[in-house]
Symmetry: C2
Subunit: 805 residues, 2 copies
């Protein structure tokens, strides 16, 4: 019988491929489903989906467990591809079909999240995500895309070497949470709307931030994370997605967590995700990463057979398999009694109630059905792609050269591997943009004479390729070097091995700096590079970090250079000295410094040495001052403003704070909002990002250096103008996480610092007894970790000896 | 003045590019040089080259120091490109120009050296190299290539992770030396001929075998090697090249050795290479790697300025800079008095006397001038490319399935990422072959029905791509899986991070093994993979290792499978268990096991655990026995043959052995030749490689497990036939290397073992006092190591803390 199931499943799964062209909407008007409750728009999604799945045969259920879902032709249920991508615009992916010509041949391509993260502007992110969901709906209406998208990647960018850090907004868990809340709103729409705009997918759950470091591949890596780091650092953005932003989907990750592959972990997918975080709507589902169910079997070697591996995954709560491993091996698992029909129904009802909620069965009743090609690449979208790049670009060094107006008579040497960047500007998970406005294009638009030379990074690996660089520099007034890294060294399946600038680039910049001409360096790419040599070189006048700036990236960079726009981006990750990579193996998941291992700690919160540039660093073309006004207060408020830019002596009682709040989640209880008056004391109009960091002596040592608890970007402060940023703090902002993963309010001293080198500060104290705000469910003691003795075929690399928790 | 030099040099160097099209021979009949002694064919090369260089101006001398040499148009001396490649056939490289159509559109492409190494057949290597030099001369005569080629790569393949191990014949220094001697004969011709066929280039001198491991790039790596390991392991092949095979050129490497970049190391390039090894002909030169002179400055930070870096390199003995760093910065170095004209003359005279010896100035007097397109891709060359692949392919497992004759009625499922390999078969440093005979092509030639499926490794990363694999397997009689690794994971600038089979491939093979059909696995690529799971799987009947088999690789593989040819290749490297990469960092250059670091030792000589397959392993389709006959003897010979396959009780006196020999190099003194009678006791005609290993208790502990001292491949032993292999041993075969690097003959017990699981053995003893055969010049105590305090921008990776010697 097992052979029968396998053969049949394969045959049907294979036929799904041929049906992909016919993707679209089921016909509830005249099709076979018209009398099925799934077509009853007055019923709730659960009821509708349940009716649909009840009409499936067992074989049809088994067949529809993969990302390429054949549907049920017998019922008029068309094939559906679950795998769409839209990381920074509708992107090439199995479910997305760009046209070769005419309508739908491109979509707006925004900067990579790492650069949008640097904007620290949640409104911007919401606007960008709204454009993406609008364009995705237009593609869907033309039968060119599905309705669920496997974005965002919201794993914290903890280690500069990570090849996929570019997909994330940065290293800080509060920042990620705030960013992702805005993003999900833009992608999915208002949670109370009858129809979701799209389904977003928070990935990769959880503790995934390694591609291939020294013998450790993401497919087999067993991340050892203690509960404190897990709750404090790796989980917050996912809690935001599930508990607070009602995201439609999750993706489990390739790695194992403390001995259990995440896609086969019931503690993670049931106890935490669905129970602890109340992510219990049937419209919500978990997909595997591609092909992480196969990886549960090999190389994780979790489950003694392929059938057991798929059964463990399905029962743990992974509803969709990106791949065919479910379709191939669930029939055998069923045959062996390892799963039952209810297990299949649970997964399928989640899938299809999600589609119901997207209006998949409701035809033109769905308002988004009117979106079309005219709604793609609108002037608004183009402007927003430009704005997002401008807002993220971060000024790291400026000796006064910038802004540098460029007139028609000026000649610019534009040099380096990013000088004529086109696809490079997009980073990964890209679509097809309407245009590539490269730095070279942008420089030429200024009216200047541009002498372009690619320099190192071209196909010729020798210094022969440098000769045209000297020629370009010799005949130019200004030298702009655009380099750094790109997807040739940081990419999916490719972590970096160093965070130093490449020697040829440094040598070339060093030589260019001897020409006696202004030199501007553009440091591109997501992972930071140790720019110490450029800081120390007095002849390098300015350094800008530009990430992956998207379709209009070159224009954005030159708008900053010329002063058409003022820089106000902030580094979303720490720039470490190059030696950092020799101090911490990528496999070390701990955040706190460790004198035994020699780790100096991870992220600006725990790193105990001097960074090259700290998290949040960013210069302006003007100066700002800050003063803290009387905050709106909780009931226990008592506060006195001691001077213009420092406030102190407020004190609060912990039990009062916690008993006066009645939200279901105490960490969301408001604490207070600090109004910060920001004044532009210079002469250049500029945005300003108010970053609120919390520091102070509260809770047990070791204590973080500080931690971001609130931020707000203010726009267009003209010379002399003041605006007020409102930094909201909740009780969760004040809480720390104990070794068990519980969130605890501790009595002690607190200080809110405005900006990295604080422009203002307010001190306050909490008194009374410490109080657990949120209790963390511990992994069960009898949790099964690698039930088979792991073979040695896939051992981890040097320095990666694993100690089970 | 410095500015003048720099500008002028750049202008002329730039103009070299335009002259490249006109490469060819100087006109000694009517050109401006006709009365220069360089055109006097009766003068010796040194005199001729000196006359030429004396005619150069200073500026012209400075301009001709790079690999793209502009020549001297004023003198009718045409531009010359020094950079040609011919690793396994005339290859794409700056100095080689394939035609788009018509003649010279391809050249014979042999297997990668790693597979040719597995043949253990020096005659084969000489033949292959002769074809390469013949084809290269034909290209040269059509003005499509120069006359010097930057091959061979003769660094020992010590670590399976090394991305360029494919370019070498294997891990054993004796094997490499013997191989390279044959290769250089084929490439350069008889050393007494008036005209060299080509100039070969032994690279990379020395201790270069790391691309980018965990923060360590080849460009910056400082290899810490003690003198014992250096002489015993890293140097022998280079000594063979320089001292014994009179190779025309050397290439210094990217790495530093014990604190000094090799291209700037006078101890290495002068004391060892030129003085110790008598490599003193002016026709011999050293080129930098590309662009290792730039790397001397950055990232090595050796030399306080660019001018000092180039001066140190030139004065150390690097005659040609691959790149433009010499051309750019030697003018400044000259201006600052860091080099003088004599330094330039030395380098230039070496270059041009080399060209004189190649007949560059002698027109049609050179016999090779008649070689033409008809001499490329001859039937002999095609057969040799096929033969080289057949001889190298190594049988690792066979349950009796092979040989498997394939008839017209048979159906074969040919599955995996190598099943339809074309370019993959060539590996790196490839040219354009006349054809790609893929495994798929070869399978189809058998007359069988071939069901092909690429499986994992295709663009679709998910198990969706597996579906056609099951379909192919279902309808076939035999399953052949062709996979492993290729240049996507082992390549220049890319070391591997694991030596395990990829999980998707293992999973797929495992599933295929459940079909109840014969399964044959082809393990392709250079670096060994831990094939333990395939050995342990009883349903995998056969395992063949095929390396990179070249243009006819598919046919060679199927000739072995079907029994048209019998396998006799031997593994040229150890196949380690996957855990090995977690036991030894790539940066660890030591060979001996180390209980402190946990290293189990490197290579079959020192590894103290159980390998998956040992160096020299290889199965046959028949059985062989060996017996040792009375050897030819040195004067001190006394020997008695105790039984048919074991000989013992010979004893020799060390002082007699050393005093009766008068060769200039005592390690080359003959010791004895052991005649080994090999008998094919089976029914299948087959080659047999007689490997002679030396073991025994002589010299201080720790002692190597054994070491290869001689080998010979016997051909076409028919059923029952006996042939005699002659295993020659010299005094150097018996010597060990002490901690100072001296070669020493020690009294003690010796055993010569025939084959890895010995078929025969002979014991003998050496008596008397230990005797230093060869004294090693120590690096000077005042050697300058990194005169600048190294910056931290380029620190090495985790676990790579360097301790200077």
């Amino acid at each position: 019988m097992a052979a029968f199931f396998i053969t049949s499943a394969l045959a049907l799964a294979g036929s799904a491929v041929a049906q992909l062209e016919g993707r679209g909407f089921p016909d509830c008007g005249n099709g076979p489903l018209k009398n099925n409750t799934v077509c009853d728009t007055t019923a709730d999604p659960l009821t509708r989906a349940t009716a649909l799945i009840n009409a499936f045969t067992l074989q049809e259920k088994l067949n529809n467990t993969g990302s390429t879902s054949p549907g049920v032709p017998r019922l008029g249920l068309r094939a559906y591809t679950w795998w769409q991508e839209a990381l920074h615009g509708v992107a090439d992916s199995p479910g997305v079909n760009f046209s070769d010509s005419g309508p739908f041949r491109y979509a707006t391509s925004f900067p990579q999240p790492i650069l949008m993260g640097a904007a620290f502007d949640d409104d911007l992110i919401r606007d960008v995500a709204t454009v993406i969901s609008t364009e995705a709906r237009a593609f869907n209406n033309d039968d060119r895309a599905g309705l669920d998208f496997w974005t965002p990647n919201i794993n914290p960018f903890k280690d500069s070497r990570w090849g996929r850090g570019q997909e994330t907004p940065g290293e800080d868990p509060y920042h990620l949470s705030s960013y992702v809340a805005a993003l999900i709103e833009g992608l999915q729409g208002d949670r109370n709307d009858k129809y979701k705009r799209l389904v977003a997918t928070c990935k990769h759950f959880v503790a995934y931030d390694l591609e291939n470091w020294n013998g450790n591949y993401r497919y087999q890596f067993d991340a050892q994370v203690n509960q404190q780091d897990l709750v404090e650092y790796y989980m917050p953005a996912f809690q935001q997605c599930a508990r607070d932003s009602n995201v439609g989907a999750f993706m489990c990750s390739y790695n194992a967590l403390n001995g259990v592959p995440t896609c086969a972990d019931p503690w993670l997918l049931q106890t935490i995700l669905r129970e602890k975080w109340n992510w219990t709507s049937e419209q919500q589902w978990v997909t595997s990463d591609c092909d992480s169910i196969q990886n549960v079997y090999l190389p994780h070697e979790y489950g003694s057979s392929r059938e057991e591996a798929v059964a463990l995954s399905l029962k743990a709560g992974t509803d969709i398999d990106c791949g065919t491993y479910y379709q191939e091996h669930l029939p055998g698992a069923y045959e062996q009694g390892l799963i039952n029909v209810t297990d299949l129904d649970t997964a399928l009802i989640r899938q299809y109630s999600s589609l119901v909620r997207l209006g998949y069965f409701d035809g033109d009743a769905v308002p988004y059905r009117s979106l079309a090609w005219d709604d793609v690449n609108t002037p608004h979208a183009q402007q927003l792609a430009h704005k997002a790049a401008v807002e993220g670009i971060t000024l790291l060094k400026n000796d006064g050269l910038l802004p540098l107006p460029i007139s028609n008579g000026t000649s610019i040497a534009l040099i380096g591997p990013w000088a004529n960047a086109t696809e490079q500007m997009l980073g990964n998970y890209d679509g097809i943009p309407p245009y590539f406005h490269s730095p070279l294009y942008a420089a030429q638009q200024t009216g200047a004479t541009v002498n372009y030379a690619a320099g190192p990074g071209t196909l010729d690996p020798t210094t022969n390729s440098w000769l045209n660089v000297w020629a370009a520099a010799n005949k130019s007034d200004i030298i702009v070097f655009a380099g750094g890294i790109d997807n040739s060294v940081e990419a999916e399946e490719m972590d970096r091995v160093t965070i130093a600038w490449s020697a040829p680039q440094l040598d070339m910049i060093g030589q260019l700096a001897t020409y006696g001409k202004p030199v501007i360096v553009l440091q591109m790419g997501a992972g930071q590079l140790d720019s110490t040599p450029l800081i120390n070189n007095a002849n390098v006048s300015a350094l800008l970090w530009g990430g992956y700036p998207g379709q209009d990236g070159g224009v954005a960079l030159f708008d900053i250079i010329t002063g058409k726009s003022a820089p106000a981006g902030r580094l979303p990750t720490t720039q470490y000295p190059a030696r950092y990579t020799s101090q911490v193996p990528m496999t070390d998941m701990t955040l706190r410094p460790n004198s035994t291992t020699g780790s100096p700690g991870r992220t600006y919160m725990w790193y105990n040495e001097v960074p090259v540039f700290e998290f949040g660093y960013g210069l302006h073309y003007t100066n700002f001052t800050a003063s803290i006004e009387t905050p709106s207060s909780p009931s226990s408020y008592s506060y006195s403003n001691s001077n213009s830019n420092s406030a102190s002596s407020a004190s609060y009682d912990i039990s009062t704070l916690t008993t006066t709040c009645t939200t279901p989640y105490p960490d969301l209880c408001p604490f207070t909002t600090f109004p910060i008056t920001i004044t532009n004391t210079g002469t250049t109009e500029s945005d300003y990002v108010a970053l609120g960091f919390l520091a102070g002596t509260h809770g047990p040592a070791p204590r973080p250096n500080k931690r971001l608890v609130s931020y707000q970007r203010l726009h267009n402060l003209t010379a002399g103008e003041s605006q007020t940023a409102h930094l909201n703090l909740t009780l969760g902002s004040l809480a720390r996480v104990d070794e068990m993963g519980n969130k605890v309010l501790y009595p002690g001293e607190y200080a809110l610092l405005v900006d990295t080198q604080p422009l203002a500060m307010v001190n306050f104290t909490l008194g009374g007894e410490e109080k657990v705000l949120d209790e963390w469910p511990q992994p069960p003691a009898d949790r099964v970790k690698f039930p088979r003795a792991k073979d040695q075929y896939f051992v981890g690399g040097y320095g990666s000896e694993q100690v089970l928790e």
